[in-house]
Symmetry: C2
Subunit: 446 residues, 2 copies
Amino acid sequence: MTIKRLKQKPQEGIKGRAKGVLQRPKKMSPKELYNVLNAVVPLYFSMLLAYSSIKHFKLFTADQCSGINRFVAIFAIPLLSFNFISRINPFHMHFLFIAADSLSKLLVLLLLLFWSHLFKNGSLDWSITLFSIATLPNTLVMGIPLLKSMYGDEQEDLMIQLVVMQSIIWYTVLLFLFEFRSARNSLMEKTSSNSVKEERGISEEELVHVVVANSLAENEIQRSQSMTKVAPELEEEEEEDNEEKLPGIEELSKQQGVCESSVQVFSREDEIREEHEKAQIGRLSVLLILRLVCYKLIRNLNFYASVLGISWALISSRWNVKKPLMMENSITILSNAGLGMAMFSLGLFMAMQPSIIACGKKLAAYGMIIRFIAGPALMALSSVLLGIRGTTLKVSIVQAALPQGIVPFVFAKEYDLHPEMLSTAVIFGMIVSLPVTILYYMALGS
Amino acid sequence: MTIKRLKQKPQEGIKGRAKGVLQRPKKMSPKELYNVLNAVVPLYFSMLLAYSSIKHFKLFTADQCSGINRFVAIFAIPLLSFNFISRINPFHMHFLFIAADSLSKLLVLLLLLFWSHLFKNGSLDWSITLFSIATLPNTLVMGIPLLKSMYGDEQEDLMIQLVVMQSIIWYTVLLFLFEFRSARNSLMEKTSSNSVKEERGISEEELVHVVVANSLAENEIQRSQSMTKVAPELEEEEEEDNEEKLPGIEELSKQQGVCESSVQVFSREDEIREEHEKAQIGRLSVLLILRLVCYKLIRNLNFYASVLGISWALISSRWNVKKPLMMENSITILSNAGLGMAMFSLGLFMAMQPSIIACGKKLAAYGMIIRFIAGPALMALSSVLLGIRGTTLKVSIVQAALPQGIVPFVFAKEYDLHPEMLSTAVIFGMIVSLPVTILYYMALGS
């Protein structure tokens, strides 16, 4: 990429940092703004090209779109992640910055869980969705080029550190929440009928186990049946790989069809029951949900890419080993495709949706307020609380006002939890974010 | 691309050039060879990744592959061409180098036409195929990175000049040959039955006209019927766009179906007959074939990209105008995808073929000899004849030994003229070319 960046100012000292937050922001020159637009507009160009190649020119069929999306999901994005992450020095991470980011996410999570437990109108479902919208922006594809163009090349490292945290820690937390929710929902269903429990005389923790595994197997079958459906599914590689997972339960239940799946699952569950006879309720459920989360993670290419990337970064920084140039170039040649293709794929996705604001105007407005105002505000609060000032503070605020990340949408669709809300946050958020991030950038000053 | 290149030697003077061809080549250092491998192996990596994602992991369906191929054909490759071509200075082209390239291609063409006219075993069909194989290598995707890594960044310009000539002049010549052949074949068919001529009492030049337009319309219908077939078609954008061409003839004949198409065409031809009543045989046929070639060209995105690229280069060099950075970045973000995606697409194509050597071993061997020995030999001859020496001579020889270009295969498939021979030249040629070009490189010395 030949995206030009601003001239770098000398790094401010500790003194400069301390008073930075109280300083009156310097006025932004038109040239600085122009440089930012030079970096961002091309991303939108890719997206709009894809959008109008479907909407106006019908250049691709739905199947062909899914081919491009699959390429992006399987190769371009994981290689892009790996390529960025493997280059950082994990021994020189900006731990304060990461702590501030983690604090803001934890704050949101706690607030939401508090609300869902103690208030009448609170719900776990909406807590999960709002957590995604408030805290998980598109750091990799939009964040890195945008923040680089705004605050200079050396801020790229900060963004990559966020990418690492997001793909290794926060997506895992999100997956856990989703799995916890589906286990709880199934449990509530089954407990209310109470038939299974009485018939088979098994304890509650085993029921959780049964129910989780059962719903998992049912999910599998539903998914394998919907595989032929035509839709621009960004997460398709997961669907494909699903077939390899939980071979015992799944293969059996597939052979027997949906109706008999529960029987098969129960016979398997009987074995597990013997193993865990003395386990405690809480521990078993958490362990089981964690196991399910692991099943999801080991099929998630981005998680692999991040773990491999950070492992390589550790080895490379510790023993000063470099990737062989041949390997480096092989990865670069495809990850180079990542940036443009990811935006192109987003444009295809946009064009395939029946509506840009799928969740209705009211919810969309709430979503935008949470994404672009509440999220950045909490991030600013956490950063200031931890003593972050100056450019780093600006980076932390602007990155929190990026458009919605794609992965939370993929999960929302997979678990069927307000997918239309997330799709709106992604699509409409992309359109809204351009003026919003630039307004933040201008307000924070250069 | 972070592909490293060799350290640049100072440009040799006229004296150095003159004795260069007789000089004993300097021995190549292992480091120089390693640098070349660092540039080429990544291209093969993309290709093999695609190949095994189909052959071993079945990650993409045929439709999904065609989506990726279409993206490459419609966006990645034309933008890559434009991006390269628009940067050269057309007022400082290496005209001697271009003349040598043109001379070698003309030599091949004349030899083949001579053979096809004067020898019993000569044929126009094989002349066209052999012309493609002997003279049209993969300059854009393989040539630029390979020659750059071998002979340094400033040789990139030479390769781009070849890309321009190839896409504007030589592909047009090839198209003309293909159109001439199909006109002649149809004419021979019709003349042998002689029924049409007698029935309608039209002159021969009109018959050529009728026959050409007729075969065109039939082609269209066959193609529009085979549109639904599943195949990794690199040229699909042409198929789609075909629907817009020759609206009168085509739309009518489509509505009437294949059987009635000739009637429709004849009624149209009657009008044209009146227009051209006094035209001469030769002129009319040539003009008509040229018109058909134009119809093909205006649907060929690469032709557009090249013409636009060279126009921009002319304007930019003449008046020292630069592309706005926003436009530059917008093009770069997608053309960055071009290199890796083109190789990926080639790998997909490779995996979808029933056999790597589709045309049989004997023909494949002939093809390889023509591509990798005869072609470079004639190029060397023309270059030496025109007084080219030193690095430029080496570039001209090695570029002639690149694997087969994709566009000639696309044409061969479209006109159904030895497509299996061209597909072998592309696929098997890719495998053979790695050792062959490196052998040439080593033999020519540094």
